[in-house]
């Protein structure tokens, strides 16, 4: 059990939210004003690295306010040393690009260019906040990144660049239109709002479709989360929410009315942008991945893999003998009759073999979570592997191997070898090598 892991107590003390940065010797408020700038830099670096999770970003932000002293120290510590930068954590990585210093921005670009660097999304998010005209092609390249969080940050960067170089809108348009079919809804929404900024108001039909989502992945309410995020941003473009309430069912009569009002506003905006009469305007056809999912039989087992280096995978086995890949409206592949139950039984055997243990490793940016939903799809039984950027040898119990191997076999035969390879890479990045069966 996690609680038994020797040495983890120290990490627990600093990581648990609610227990703020009270480490011995940590200056209290009031004392901070008396510290020299160089001392403040060290203090903020320490808090950004090992303070309570919710204050790390704030501490890193304080470094920005210290200007040249912080800049010089960051260069001294991390220029040419991505390993040290990785250990410092994503909050500090994220502010590098926000310094108006080409050396720190280059350091952030170097981090992004290293596929084994664990905080690549953070590096690009920081760069995107202060995007310069010279960065345009790099942000465009980011749209093809294997990590969804990097692709989403690249969209933000393109919008920032457009403030200095409006010509990037035309150069980025084909890639942004392609991103409307991205497998990740965060990327699709980012692309949609960027396209609207660039005059393609029809792209707002994508977040509008999110308002109709009510999908879950086991207990995860992804449709609800999408409704909140889409509505918040739509309201800024369309004036208000028209009374839509994301906490309520999309089919609630009030929400249907509000949806109709929002759709009309988008239709008028898109018709104007396209230069056509409202009556003649035809809304765009959304790709399947961007449409609300049709009701599906419940999942009976699944695996969620989130690797800070190799990306995210969500695979579920449906009671209708389907293999579903992704969230929202997933890609669905038909398996042989009885195969889903067979795979779920293999996973159940793995659970039984490890006894009562359900958590392995220590909390961090990587997750490998297995689910068996024997009673309810929203109340599955979990088995979790957790880790930070550093590998933990032997993290995954060998008893899970038969399930993984069988699932990989089916992935090759359905989604294809390329997807199976990416899935395997993500698994290996979290739980380590897959033991021989």
């Amino acid at each position: 059990m996690i609680r038994r892991i020797a040495g983890f107590v120290a990490l627990l003390l600093v990581c648990t939210v609610g227990v703020a940065d009270r480490a011995a010797g940590s200056p209290q408020r009031g004392q901070a004003a008396k510290l020299a700038p160089a001392e403040l830099v060290e203090r903020h670096l320490q808090t950004a690295r090992a303070g309570a999770l919710q204050v790390r970003s704030q501490a890193a932000g304080r470094l920005l306010t210290l200007g040249d002293v912080a800049r010089d120290r960051l260069l001294e510590l991390f220029a040419g040393d991505l390993d040290a930068l990785a250990e410092q954590g994503q909050e500090t990585v994220e502010i590098l690009g926000r310094f108006e210093d080409p050396r720190l921005r280059d350091l952030a670009w170097s981090a992004l260019g290293d596929l084994d660097f664990p905080w690549r999304p953070a590096a690009l998010r920081g760069l995107a906040r202060e995007g310069t005209a010279a960065d345009g092609d790099r942000f465009l390249a980011g749209l093809r990144d294997p990590l969804a969080a990097v692709r989403a940050a690249a969209v933000t960067g393109i919008e920032a660049v457009a403030q200095h170089d409006p010509s990037i809108a035309d150069r980025a348009r084909p890639s942004l239109r392609a991103a409307l079919a991205d497998e990740d809804d965060r990327v699709r929404r980012a692309a949609a709002f960027a396209l609207d900024t660039f005059g393609d108001a029809d792209a707002l039909y994508w977040p509008l479709a999110d308002l109709e989502r009510d999908d879950r992945w086991f207990e995860l309410e992804n449709g609800r989360a999408a409704r909140y995020d889409a509505l918040r941003q739509l309201a800024t473009r369309l004036g208000d929410t028209a009374g839509y309430r994301p906490e309520k069912d999309p089919d609630d009569p009030e929400n249907r009315t509000a949806w109709t009002v929002l759709e009309q506003r988008i239709r008028e905006r898109a018709a104007r942008a396209a230069g056509v009469e409202l009556d003649a305007y035809e809304p765009p056809q959304l790709p399947p991945v961007a449409r609300p999912a049709a009701p599906m039989p419940p999942p009976i087992a699944g695996i969620e893999v989130r690797s800070c280096r190799r990306g995210e995978f969500f695979l579920a086995l449906g009671s209708d003998d389907t293999l579903r890949i992704g969230l929202g409206n997933p890609a669905v592949f038909q398996l042989a009759p009885g195969r889903a139950a067979q795979l779920a039984a293999l996973l159940g055997s793995g659970y039984a073999a490890v006894g009562d243990e359900r958590d392995f490793g220590e909390p961090g940016c990587d997750l490998e979570v297995y689910r068996v939903a024997s009673e309810s799809p929203t109340r599955p039984s979990h088995l979790r592997l957790l880790k930070g950027p550093a590998p933990i040898p032997g993290l995954r119990p060998d008893a899970l191997t038969p399930f993984i191997e069988a699932l990989r076999h089916d992935l090759v035969g359905t989604a294809g070898p390329e997807v199976a390879e990416r899935f395997t890479a993500a698994l290996q990045a979290v739980g380590g090598p897959i033991a021989p069966d």
Partner: protein, 157 residues
């Protein structure tokens, strides 16, 4: 656990008239059962969508939107997850809409700090659960940094 959640669902159905004390996204339902001893059983409990609290655009120094500020001091029920960072037995833990917020930094507006009280403890929980208690809203600072925006003193429902 399943039985308890069925009871919870039944309570939702029985006591779910729409309530708009918060200007919208909250449902009120009365209960004399499952109320922490520190709470008045006759006081109304509001079901609040955790996403509503955690999806606001907020940075230290910002005001909390009025429709959310109105929930301050109210007894609420929240449904969500324990943040994956929690390990060992804890009196307090961050409640979030998704256990793994792996690709972005955790900000004070992204969670509700649940305080189970001086004698209660909990270990890590992996599934979705509910808590009931009194919600407190407002930035709390330590060493000049905001450590929480939302706090709830209560217990698992």
């Amino acid at each position: 656990m399943v039985k308890r959640n069925l009871r919870f669902a039944a309570a939702l159905v029985a006591f779910a008239p729409l309530f708009s004390a918060a200007g919208g996204p909250a449902h009120a339902w009365s209960t004399a059962r499952g109320v922490p001893s520190s709470l008045d059983a006759s006081e109304e409990i509001i079901e609040v969508d955790l996403h509503q609290l955690t999806s606001i655009a907020w940075e230290p120094g910002d005001e909390v939107p009025e429709e959310i500020q109105r929930l301050n001091g109210r007894r609420v029920v929240l449904r969500g997850f324990m943040h994956a960072s929690v390990a060992g037995d804890q009196r307090k833990f961050p409640m979030v809409t998704e256990a793994c917020q792996c690709t972005a930094s955790l900000m004070p507006s992204h969670f509700v700090e649940v305080d189970l009280g001086p004698t209660a403890r909990t270990g890590p929980r992996t599934g979705q659960f509910e808590v009931v208690g009194r919600l407190e809203i407002g930035a709390v600072e330590e060493d000049g940094l905001v450590v929480s925006l939302y706090r709830l003193k209560g217990r698992f429902y």
